[in-house]
Symmetry: D2
Subunit: 426 residues, 4 copies
């Protein structure tokens, strides 16, 4: 580890929470250089929905490499890209009656967000954008302006600008609906909320603390956008690619956003990012937004292989079934540790255990890691333990993880109690 | 091709210049689905310095995949990352007496630039930055602000801000040195050029039209920065990784920048981007700048394999030798097509043929592609034919490319002459 | 009038609502070049609180001019300025136990606001500021960013930035208190509402439609600012100088803002603007914010004369008494024109009659002007008839104005009814 | 003086350079409360071109006040405004064949600049603006962005943005013309200098250190603007109103800017500011840029009286004649104090004496004030003694001022020599 401490920037983060040198991995199990196994409830922060080293994906990759398939082609046409577009169109878009153009962008989620925002601003010729409390859309300057967390802001960077922040669904504990608020603001020419080019929203806020927007709220938001000629951008980077059971997390609301960002698992863990847009929104001039790594063929090959899982409903069903297991296990934990866990929330295979006891989640995460479970925290004050395990995780891996989590929680509680700290009621 | 036209966004660019569906590639030779071969003078825009499917790299990758090496680990420690850091440190940094911390960032060059600018602004607590005419640093909002090309700007995006633009070396045809200009501005508290956090510069501007900064100018710029407590950021994304013969393009000037951005070939064509910073510049808090794809293990494995080429001087020597061949070939073309080619410029293995005849370079590029040579144009008005072939290109490939280029140029000239258009003197 | 149409910019506004050439005026009565008299319920938009050509003020001015008193001294010391500071200190600040430094700024309210915002941002070293829905703080770029009305915005100007907009007191029809909302946002490090340097607020929004903040809300806001180390800026430009009965409109809430902006009537209608700041907020370097007309001696002389009115409570009492008359007259009108007038609101001598019938207020204003009453509309859609008559208006002038207003309203109603338009319930 | 120290903000500036309490003034002579006389070479920073208490102006004012002329009418029509427009049109614009619309704006120069920039940006639908080194255009946020002096900038205010800074005429000591530079930048789509809405320029930079643009340069700049569809904004706030001998300082170049800002002396020292625009540039919507003090009748009355001086050429001739006296006197001083005074420059009645000896000008200014002469310094490092005396200054006053200045300089030199400091060659 000293090599990392000596030569890597101080900015390194996860290496501090999960201090081991990892080597190999399959399914939802990671092995470090000392041979210690870890159950993976982290899932590459949503980039490993299809698990580690899925055999079909690995085989496709090896085949591609062995036949000297072209590696990086920028935005030129390749067989690998052709096959990905074809699979994405026929397996994902067509069956959902979704008519969208695909843009391959620089392979980070942030670049997808930058692209979506630029496209919306260019199309509508308005600079303002609406974003939400606790939103997380990335770290480049344009994406940072719509990201809530003050920790990432710095006046010298120059953010935020031309963005109005609105409360997310259920942000406030009262009966006011934040879409109604927004409608009121936008209808009032003197509210200081200028007509925006777009609203950018996650249907479930992952980094923000596993906040699940209701179907009704998403539908109202979509209707408001239509009514007021505003583009709706759904950021599906963390919760798309099957995380909620459907391929897109907004399918449950039966809405069709104007722009969709996808990344993370779309390339099965290899860097790839795409932006989908309704054809009438595709106002780009050729070459107007570019980037070197838009044609990462390995990600196309792997992504195409993964899309095969979506040919029928089996995958969705298995995600939902496992999601229920996670929910039940977490509710059991909540019951077992009253006051320590105040809320369980989530959908499909994204779940959060909230604790109002300061530092408790970080302690559980630490104890769990020592016992062989990788699980991170989320929320502005790390108040949520976040489950984001691979969608292909096995029953055995799940159960093993739950047990470790239970032990870790017991250990954390004991430690807190020894220090004289009491649990809190919600 | 209709699939791409139907389903891809209108933003697609290179697919229009190079309209074929590419399949496999080795060294500097690409093959399309019809079996047609193309000599590659494009080099993945600098991301394929080590050529297509280098056998050692491919073998390392296949080995890694076959043993289920971990794919994406964000910024956790892995064997793949350990080996890369170790190789980079021992093969690249240590022999050059370079004491730098490494930051792995979101795997686009733009993200490296955003990171460098944020770090500099945070460290110096100043928002202003100096960038240069014809600079190209990427398309996310922070990087776009330091990129010159107006085609990429839009007032609704919100750029540029907090950036002063200075003429690059030799931008103006007169005796004024632009570092002297900058010194004058910064010494004058009322010039409107506020003391910047950083100067960001490419030692050779690739996208800007193959503009080579002189050693004297780079040294003066570096001295000015030291003198005035400004950080010097060298953007090595396109011209680093051996493009000029040295690993870093600024080695010829014997300077040590405060921050260095590397991407493109650092992962041998797979998305990867790193930022190097002097230890005292490493003022990041843990986790302050993050991203999902900072731990692209395949790129680490491939990148480590490629670094082996730098163990001794052979690779540098071969780059220089081939670079001389390119230069000689290009000067011959200039002599053969007087008036059509007005300038030949470059260094190492980055070269440009400038034509002042409107559209001529695009026509040559088109004719060349038809004849089996991939070569793009650069500069604000596509006035430069740009050589950026893989550094490992073979003698045979080079010669084949030169011949095609000669033919393409002859064809273009003939076409122009038939249309009654005359060549121009420089 | 053709001279104005021919030679003045199209931007002219009030000349269109009140199309006459005015010549002389006394108290609250204006006379045009044809000798027609107008009762003034407009009050120079709050700049003529002391009425037109108050004899004591005029005499003081004439004396000053006749003895060749210095006219403009920038921020040098003059007798005129000395006397103003002395009077302001002894008559206004000291009796209210207010310990503030005075800054004389460029003589527009907007300049006062720019100064206040710059000072707050400089002191707190934070760029963010909180402003409110329907706020009006002026038109220069910094002031515009905190002004709500979209009509004044333009993306090419570059507003708004670094400002979070919050609902004003009672902006939403529900039980949520907007100070509680703000507290929630600021306590949540991931809300997207970064800790601001300042909150800027009017205690009554004049241009915004005569919205009166409650004492409780103002107190909560003041407490929140103290609690979170945020500066409270009260913009008293329109509602200070006695408009509400007290000299400062926030006196009713018994709070002491960190920064106060005053303009309009402070120079009795001559351009003058001052910023008051708590001594610890006075972090300016000498000469850091300047301007040519900071030393308008005529305004000092007139302003000093006007301050004499505040030596005892008589003036306050008379303002309150007249204010009650206005309120009663307006409530009578509301009762007489049910459905046409939906709300009467105000305080002291600032009152609004709201109509939800589109265009009704503008029609009444027009009819009133024809009948000899000058009264403008306010609110984002001109939905409020605004009373802002001079504080020194006589009983007779008031009664005459009420009668004309009644007639004008009757005429407008008749016209609407003839056009088949019905009144609306609130 | 203690009252000022105790109650005024620390921002006060001139009161520190000229520490006396001024009372009355006539022509170019000011008297303080102790009866001490001061010759005025300061001229209210350009706001007192017509001198202190000009008898004709004072009489016009007293008459207007005595007949209860309306004081502040915002942008309504008044007799006072009618007469001003009529006089300005017939005396100033018509004889010069200038077809311009007049906009009355908030009565500060900064507001005129904000207005000009907003209008240009709105008309051209571009946000970028070109401004010059050492430019001074005011302190509100929009004006500050085009003002050079770093002392006034602060990253937390948010300046500068959307402004490219160019060297003023003769800024650099070499043969490159800065208009040629600008042409080059703007013709190069990749220079980073996006096509601007406007260029804003002073024909002589007063605050910047008395830098006189050549006629040739102004003409080239005007031609460039025409050629490239850019609006030319001449900021005449300090050097218009006759300062150079002509009413507009740009008349010597025989150009017609698209937008002109006037303030300072246009109201003879009372706050007033106007913007002139070519009729096709007048794209304002009614009421789009407003302000309370746009109708300062006293300034109109005084301004109209002053315009009478321009009915024939006498005034221009007298300005030029006095200007020559100033120049000769200053050149004599330069000859008398070689090394201490390195340059004399100016035009008409604006002149500067430059010293390269650090602090020398401030010392002379101090010595002069003690001896009864008010003369300030200019330039980023106060390196210039600035003459800006009233245009109506008498021969006697001028001569008295020159004598005091000579004595002050002698005293300063002696003091420097006693401290062992030597003069510098230019």
């Amino acid at each position: 580890m000293s090599l990392f401490e000596q030569h890597e920037s101080n900015v390194r983060g996860y290496i501090r929470s999960f201090p081991a040198i990892f080597d190999t991995a399959t399914s939802a199990t990671i092995v470090d250089i000392e041979g210690k196994r870890y159950i993976d409830f982290f899932g590459g922060a949503g980039s490993l929905n299809y698990g580690h080293n899925h055999p079909l994906i690995n085989q496709a990759l090896i085949n591609y490499i062995q036949r000297n398939g072209i590696t990086n082609a920028l935005d030129k046409a390749t067989v690998a890209k052709h096959d990905f577009i074809s699979a994405f169109q026929s397996i994902i878009l067509a069956p959902r009656h979704m008519d969208y153009k695909i843009q391959f962008v620089g392979p980070t989620g942030a670049n997808g967000v930058e692209t979506a925002l630029k496209l919306a601003r260019k199309m509508k010729q308005r600079s303002n954008v609406i974003a939400f409390t606790n939103a997380y859309h990335g770290h480049s300057l344009g994406a940072l302006a719509v990201t809530g967390n003050e920790f990432y802001h710095d006046d010298y960077y120059g953010v935020p600008r031309n963005v109005n922040k609105m409360p997310y669904d259920n942000y406030f504990d009262h009966d006011m609906d934040s879409v109604d608020m927004l409608r009121h603001y936008l209808a009032d020419g003197s509210s200081g909320y200028d007509l925006p080019a777009a609203v950018i929203v996650e249907s479930i806020q992952g980094e923000g603390g596993i906040n699940v927007a209701s179907v009704a709220w998403l539908q109202k938001l979509s209707e408001l956008c239509k009514e007021m000629d505003i583009l709706l951008i759904m950021d599906e980077i963390q919760v798309g690619n099957g995380r909620t059971g459907d391929f897109f997390s907004f399918e449950r609301a039966n809405i069709q956003p104007d722009i969709i960002t996808l990344s993370k698992s779309v390339g099965t863990g290899m860097p790839m990012s795409i932006v989908l847009m309704k054809p009438d929104v595709d106002v780009w001039s050729p070459g107007e937004h570019t980037g070197t790594f838009r044609g990462n063929s390995y990600a196309f090959v792997a992504g195409s292989a993964a899309l095969e899982l979506w040919r029928n409903d089996d995958f969705s069903r298995s995600i939902r079934a496992k999601g229920e297991q996670v929910e039940q296990a977490f509710r059991r934990l909540q019951a077992r540790y009253p006051g320590w866990i105040s809320d369980v929330r989530g959908l499909g295979m994204i779940w959060g255990l909230e604790s109002l006891v300061e530092g408790f989640c970080n302690e559980v995460s630490k104890q769990a890691f020592e016992r062989g479970l990788m699980m991170e925290t989320a929320g502005a004050s790390d108040q949520v333990l976040k489950f984001l395990g691979p969608l292909v995780i096995s029953e055995t891996e799940l159960e093993e993880g739950f047990e470790i989590l239970d032990d870790a929680m017991a250990a954390a509680v004991e430690q807190y109690q020894q220090a004289g700290k009491a649990p809190l009621s919600a």
